[in-house]
């Protein structure tokens, strides 16, 4: 694993993230225009969705894929429970904020997933294309659990359930990921060929610039953070470790290949910083955005990119890799 770990730190993708962190800490005025950052994130989702769909159109559907989907959805629903207990207990957060933060850890981070795919592909353990659908399915269930946990604490108007469900299914990133996935599945490899110079060849380069921006945002946010305690900082590292291990074992248990096993681990270990914060602003406006954004974006995200993806890959390898324990 040493060579692999080293490889992480010579990959331009990760190095650009480090550059972003560095520039922000050095108080450089480097900044990416928001319209561009938004555009890059749409591009990354469309591209990863397409690639996943094309892969599934080649490999076809089988029962493993169904199992992976079920495992992902179950994890997204259930993981907030663990996080909630830890946040209320060790973290000393109130019920409201514990629920809001927990939702983030049940959901997923698209960019963490995408970076992991790049890294695992470079280590010759590419995750299956269907994992994109698993990711999309995991994005929003956690929101429901988080809200249920926080609800009794939330004052003011309750949002109608219909509005919540609409958001779970028609959230921008869910629609784009699954839509592009369907387009990839329908148009298949031959249809994809035409657009692959844009969506495939350009992918890693865009990811570099996007991670540069994420580095800048993550570091700047933590420098401004006021409501972050050391307990919360510890939790923001412990939960991705724990959830990553759970997800990796789950993937191994349902018989996924090594790359997909690791990818499921990364999905479980990652925390949302786009879809879930937006939902929390609407549903739990009294919750402190300073807490959940700083934890997921400024601690968990960098920890996953720089360290946890490597650890999870090694664990998946030990479990189901060549000569792995569970083979």
């Amino acid at each position: 694993m040493d060579a692999a770990a080293l490889q992480t730190f010579t990959s331009p993708v990760v190095l650009f993230f480090v550059l972003g962190l560095f520039a922000a800490f050095a108080r450089s005025d480097l900044a990416i225009p928001e319209a561009l950052a938004k555009g890059m994130s749409l591009y990354l989702m469309a591209a990863i969705g397409l690639k996943g769909g094309v892969a599934v159109s080649k490999s076809g559907l089988d029962s493993t894929i169904g199992l992976a989907l079920l495992a992902g959805i179950a994890a997204s629903f259930l993981m907030p429970l663990i996080a909630f207990a830890v946040l209320k207990g060790f973290g000393k957060l109130d019920r409201l904020n514990s629920g809001a933060v927990a939702a983030h850890y049940g959901s997923v981070s698209v960019v963490t997933f995408v970076t992991a795919v790049e890294i695992y592909e470079a280590q010759s353990m590419p995750p299956g294309g269907f994992m994109v659908a698993v990711m999309a399915a995991m994005e929003t269930p956690a929101i429901l659990t988080g809200l249920l946990l926080a609800r009794s604490a939330a004052s003011g108007e309750k949002r109608p359930a219909g509005e919540m469900f609409h958001e779970v299914f028609f959230n921008a990133s869910v629609v784009l990921l699954l839509g592009a996935f369907a387009i990839g599945a329908v148009s298949g490899a031959s249809g994809f060929e035409d657009v692959s110079p844009f969506f495939e060849a350009g992918f890693k380069g865009v990811l570099c610039l996007f991670l540069l921006d994420m580095g800048l945002i993550a570091a700047r946010r933590i420098m401004d953070a006021k409501s972050l305690t050391w307990r919360l900082a510890v939790i923001a590292i412990a939960i991705p470790l724990l959830n990553g291990v759970i997800g990796t074992f789950a993937g191994a248990a349902i018989g996924l290949d090594v790359g997909s096993t690791a990818a499921l681990g990364v999905l479980c270990g990652s925390a949302s910083y786009i879809a879930v914060p937006a939902a929390m602003r609407l549903a739990l406006p009294e919750a402190d955005a300073g807490i959940y954004l700083t934890m997921s974006l400024s601690i968990t995200f960098p920890f996953n990119i720089l360290i946890n993806i490597g650890l999870i890959g090694a664990l998946a390898n030990a479990l189901v890799g060549p000569g792995g324990m569970m083979l």
Binding site: M214, K226, I274, A278, L282
Partner: protein, 102 residues
Amino acid sequence: MIETVIRKRIEILTDTALVRRITKAIDDAGITGWTITPVQSGKGRDGHWREERVTGSDKVFVLTIAPQDKAMALAEALAPSLSSHGFLLTMWDIEVIRGERF
């Protein structure tokens, strides 16, 4: 000399995610329209905040022009959310031409 009439101009700073609630309140108050303008960054009790569309944490100004009574009705309707949602609401008197529209 053209005629002007006095109306209230209300500007509400709010999270982008909450805009629909505000505009619904404006419609409900019977006000004829509204306009949304962008905001770049700011500092309040929560500390420095930056426009971060990637994380969805950006804000906008919703501005609306209304006669005094409707303006007060709107302020009244929004008052409870002001503290829970951290809105910032300011209003003042302005002169408008074609006052019959508002």
